[in-house]
Point group: C2
C-alpha cells in the first residue's frame, strides 16, 4: 500500500494552480512563447490564454510579460513576481509531498500490509 496525493492552490475561490499549470508557466518562460508551450502541452492556445488572464486577475499580479524581439530577453517570460510565486509554489508542493509520506509512515506504522 502506498500514499498518493495531489496538492494545488486556489486564488479567489476559483482559479486553481497545481503542478501542471506551474510547469506550463515555466515552459512558457523557457520557450519564450505561449504558443510553443501549449503545443508541447497538448492544450489549446485559447484555453491557455483564458486561464492565464484569469490567473493574473485572481492573483492580483502579472505572471508573464511580453517583450518584442528575439534572444533571451525577447518573447513571453515570467515576471519577477511570477518567478517568486513559482519558487514558493514548488516549495509548497514538494514539501507537502514529503510531509504526506511522513504522515503515511507514521499512521500506518506497525501495519504489516
Amino acid at each position: 500500500m502506498k500514499p498518493k496525493s495531489k496538492v494545488w492552490v486556489v486564488f479567489g475561490e476559483q482559479v486553481k494552480l497545481g503542478d501542471g499549470r506551474a510547469r506550463l508557466l515555466e515552459l512558457i518562460d523557457e520557450l519564450g512563447s505561449i504558443k510553443k508551450a501549449v503545443a508541447r502541452f497538448g492544450m489549446s492556445y485559447r484555453s491557455a490564454w483564458g486561464y492565464l488572464k484569469e490567473l493574473e486577475r485572481a492573483a492580483g499580479f502579472k505572471m508573464l510579460t511580453r517583450t518584442p524581439g528575439g534572444g533571451p530577453l525577447g518573447g513571453t517570460r515570467l515576471t519577477k513576481a511570477g518567478r517568486h510565486f513559482l519558487d514558493r509554489y514548488w516549495r509548497f508542493s514538494r514539501g507537502a509531498e514529503g510531509a504526506i509520506k511522513r504522515q503515511f509512515a507514521k499512521s500506518f506504522k506497525n501495519k504489516k500490509k
Copy 2:
C-alpha cells in the same frame, strides 16, 4: 490564496481508497447493508460490490463480513481488520491535511497576496 489537497492510498498499484471510499465503508457498517449505503451514496450496487471485492483482494484481508439476521450484529459490518485499517487511514488523511496546511504557511510566509 488557499492550499487544497487530496490524498488517497493505493493497494497493489491499482486499487484506490480515498476519503469517499472510506466513508462508504463506514456507512455500510453503520447501516448494516451495502444496498442501503450505496443508495445514500448515489452509487450503483454493482460498481460498489465490484470495488469492494477488488479492494479486499488487493488489501489481502476482508474489510466487511456479513452475518444473517437483524439487530446490531446482523447485516454487513466492518471486520476488526477493516475497522483497524480505517482508523489508520483517517489518521493518515487528517494528519496529511494538517501537514499540508502547515507546509503552505511555511512556504508562502511573508507573501502578501
